[in-house]
């Protein structure tokens, strides 16, 4: 149990300070560690949990659920403790970084390197998100109906301002009625 906690803390503290471009970029590493390295869950469970996690909160609430599942074998109370530990380890280091950089920002914000870093990091995070999309796709698009739903969601996201939570709830209802 303590060992699982330690693994969660070590993993998420590293991912916290590696998430350049938002939480989604750490998804491939998270999947690899949670599924293949620590065997906390199956690929299908990982993708299911990712689907559940985007309903509320900042991106990467899936870390909460990974912490929950990692400790679920020790009972519900320990599982929630695991979720808490994972969440803190994921969101605290990056928040501290905001405070530290914010303190020295005024003397640094006119530096041209600022722009260099931003331009350099954006394509890297795009590559990560692309890899993450492949992982999600492989375990979510199994059939023609799921492929159609995914495509519709993609088009709605790109061309409308519809709230994604509405899409998720609608898709859950539709697939419950037709795919059951």
């Amino acid at each position: 149990m303590i060992q699982t906690f330690a693994h969660l803390v070590a993993l998420f503290m590293i991912l916290s300070v590696s998430a350049f471009g938002g939480g989604k970029v750490v998804l491939p590493t998270l999947q690899h560690q949670a599924v293949e390295n620590f065997h906390w869950m199956s690929n299908q469970q990982f993708v299911d949990l990712f689907g559940i996690s985007i309903i509320d909160g900042p991106s990467m609430m899936v870390v909460t659920l990974v912490g929950l599942k990692a400790c679920l074998q020790y009972g519900y109370v320990i599982a929630i403790l695991g979720a808490l530990i994972a969440t803190i380890a994921m969101f605290l280091p990056s928040s501290i970084l905001v405070l530290i950089v914010g303190r020295y920002w005024d003397s640094w914000k006119t530096s041209p390197w600022h722009e260099s870093i931003q331009r350099a990091m954006m394509p890297i995070s795009t590559g990560m998100i692309l890899a993450a999309a492949f992982i999600i796709a492989r375990h979510s698009i199994h059939t023609i109906p799921t492929a159609i739903m995914g495509l519709i969601a993609l088009c709605l996201m790109l061309f409308t301002k519809l709230n994604p939570v509405i899409m998720i709830v609608a898709a859950a209802a539709i697939s419950w009625v037709f795919l059951r």
Binding site: I55, P58, L99, Q118
Partner: protein, 209 residues
């Protein structure tokens, strides 16, 4: 309680102007409400409307300065902005409370849904339900690839970086921190400030939706 003193908590050096006096309860309530209603993202614009336009807690300039900071740093943007605003208003205590309040509602909700999932996840009803949820999640992810690509591609080097990152992660199973340590310096060097070439200003406000 020193009500008279003008912002005694602002020892951070983060700000140039004096932020208004905001009670800790108000901070907790504000960020708790955002955490509670943060369904589906698009929150940066929402926070700006509430904190800048409605409450007047910080100026637009300060807000975009905060946004520039969190965009260059790792981590979820909304969390970074909240921590920044909390610190701006009430120092370290404000930052801690902002983080705590914005995270608690989604934490409880997501934990609850997670426990439901592990309890009922194996029956056919929830499997059918989740098929739709994950399909939409995949669509969302794909849309993020388009958005991120649109923002990041300015030349052939950027395309190359996307492909190399993708291959390292997908085929090489390289972890994100090593990819950044490996490719980050190369890309930063490539985009280094050059005196003769006028750099086309990157759209720092562009990602506000």
């Amino acid at each position: 309680m020193p009500v008279e003193a003008p912002n005694p908590d602002n020892t951070s050096g983060l700000v140039s102007t004096n932020p208004p006096r905001v009670s800790l309860w108000e901070l907790v309530f504000f960020f708790g409400l955002i955490g509670l209603t943060s369904f589906g993202g698009g929150l940066t614009a929402y926070i700006r409307r509430l904190a800048v336009t409605q409450k007047g807690w910080l100026t637009d300039e300060e807000f975009f300065s905060a946004l520039a900071i969190v965009q260059i740093l790792p981590g979820a943007r909304v969390v970074g902005i909240s921590v920044y605003i909390g610190n701006h208003l009430r120092g370290l205590l404000g930052a801690s409370l902002a983080l705590l309040s914005i995270m608690t509602p989604p934490f409880i909700l997501v934990c609850f849904l997670g426990l439901l999932y592990f309890h009922y996840g194996e029956n056919s009803d929830s499997k059918a339900l989740l098929a739709g949820v994950t399909a939409v999640a995949c669509g969302l992810m794909a849309s993020m690839v388009f958005e991120a690509g649109q923002k990041s591609i300015r030349g052939i080097f950027d395309v190359l970086m996307i492909i190399v990152t993708f291959l390292l992660v997908r085929l090489g199973h390289m972890h994100v921190q090593y990819v950044i340590l490996l490719l980050g310096p190369i890309a930063i060097w490539w985009h280094r400030p050059r005196a003769e070439k006028k750099t086309d200003g990157i759209d720092q406000k562009g990602s506000i939706t």
